[in-house]
Symmetry: C2
Subunit: 239 residues, 2 copies
């Protein structure tokens, strides 16, 4: 397997393949062709074959891929063949939502404890997971083989916490704070910037409206082009 | 302004520019050069100039960009020059976290109401936002000029809700359900698939470990290459 030069775009598609293959497996589908997978996932069959070829192709034959095998192999590539111990920093609503999400546990992402500065939460539990004071965190990480730290606190707090985490034996941070983190070179970071995602959505709205008003302008010049009452389709080529 | 052919990668960087420029503005920085911005944001100055050129360049002169102007202009491109009315579907922990997030409100993303199927929540409020029965949703959208619907419910429920939303005059869906949605062509969708993000993180962990164990193998063959006790740097070229 040669995953040295796999682009971020391919990597971003892997979890999606994994989700769809999990559904197919649950439905008892034993084999699937790239054409069938293409239809369900709205990507081209050639894109699917190209993506899979980065990982050796997963042994497609005339009658398609073995669903179980493909699911397991992609799972291995995503690091799902062994469990990951996690802790949460910041036991608010967002953190509680993440702890309560059953699919994480099912895939081996195991929350072991949460940490907060709010004394009222100490020794309470969230979906069965205990909440401890922040000061206990470094020792807890050391003694409990923690891989992934999930951060759901403010930008200001996150900067301070990361200084502590840089001295702890962790492998990765899943960051929901609204800033980039300065981490040790062997700590992997994945950011979830929710406000960025929302801004991309309003960008899309604005772009659609700009395109649409341009099309209406064009429509006035050539009113026979679009049937009345029907919006021109998004992907229709400009005349 | 010609934004017709702007790639997804450029669009994904815009909110990040906006965040950093907002911070600079708050700090009272009036002008900034692409070199200075590059240093803060860890992207190259030429990348920044290229990105900005898609939108007309924002009038950089010898002494850099006007921070206020740049912030306002990128805000307009992101559709932040007017407010967006939003509703939430699914008043659980995740939804409550989103409603409570002050930065959304500050940027004109205004939650007006939440909808749920849990009767115990009806006529309660979350951070001051009322919760109503799901059956009230279509009328509420029609009467309150709702642009964006935020979905924080299960995959199974989301599929049903989207059928209803396809008949409502909305512009966009911010989707946290773990599936792709089949929407009307004029509805924009932005997905936040949290489990995909977590899988990308464990992919990165695994890749780091593979790379690292390969480097250790290489190190055994040529033990003088890396000083003892010091990990080879991530970006160091393989010998």
């Amino acid at each position: 397997m040669n995953n040295k030069e796999i682009s971020q775009a391919v990597v971003a598609r892997l979890p999606r393949y994994y989700r769809y293959l999990g559904d197919l497996r649950d439905e008892g589908v034993e084999r699937i062709s790239s054409q069938e997978l293409s239809k369900i996932m709205h990507v081209t069959a050639s894109q699917i074959r190209q993506d899979f070829n980065h990982f050796g192709g997963f042994g497609q034959q005339g009658y398609g891929y073995n669903t179980d095998y493909l699911y397991e192999e992609i799972g291995k590539i995503l690091g799902l063949d062994h469990p990951h111990n996690m802790i949460l920093i910041g036991a608010g609503h967002l953190g509680s939502a993440l702890i309560g999400y059953m699919n994480f546990r099912r895939r081996g992402y195991l929350f072991k404890a949460a940490f907060d500065i709010n004394e009222a939460l100490f020794n309470q539990t969230i979906s069965g997971i205990p909440v401890y004071p922040m000061s206990d965190m470094p020792d807890y990480i050391k003694n409990n083989n923690i891989d992934i730290v999930v951060i759901t606190i403010s930008k200001q707090e996150a900067v301070k916490v990361v200084e502590v985490l840089n001295r702890c034996p962790i492998k990765a941070i899943w960051n929901f704070a609204h800033c980039e983190l300065e981490v040790r070179e062997d700590i992997q970071v994945e950011n979830v910037h929710l406000s960025d995602s929302l801004m991309q959505l309003s960008y899309q709205i604005r772009q659609y409206e700009l395109r649409h008003s341009r099309e209406e302008e064009d429509g006035k010049k050539d009113s026979t082009r679009h049937p009345a009452g029907k919006h021109p389709h998004k992907n229709e080529e400009a005349g």
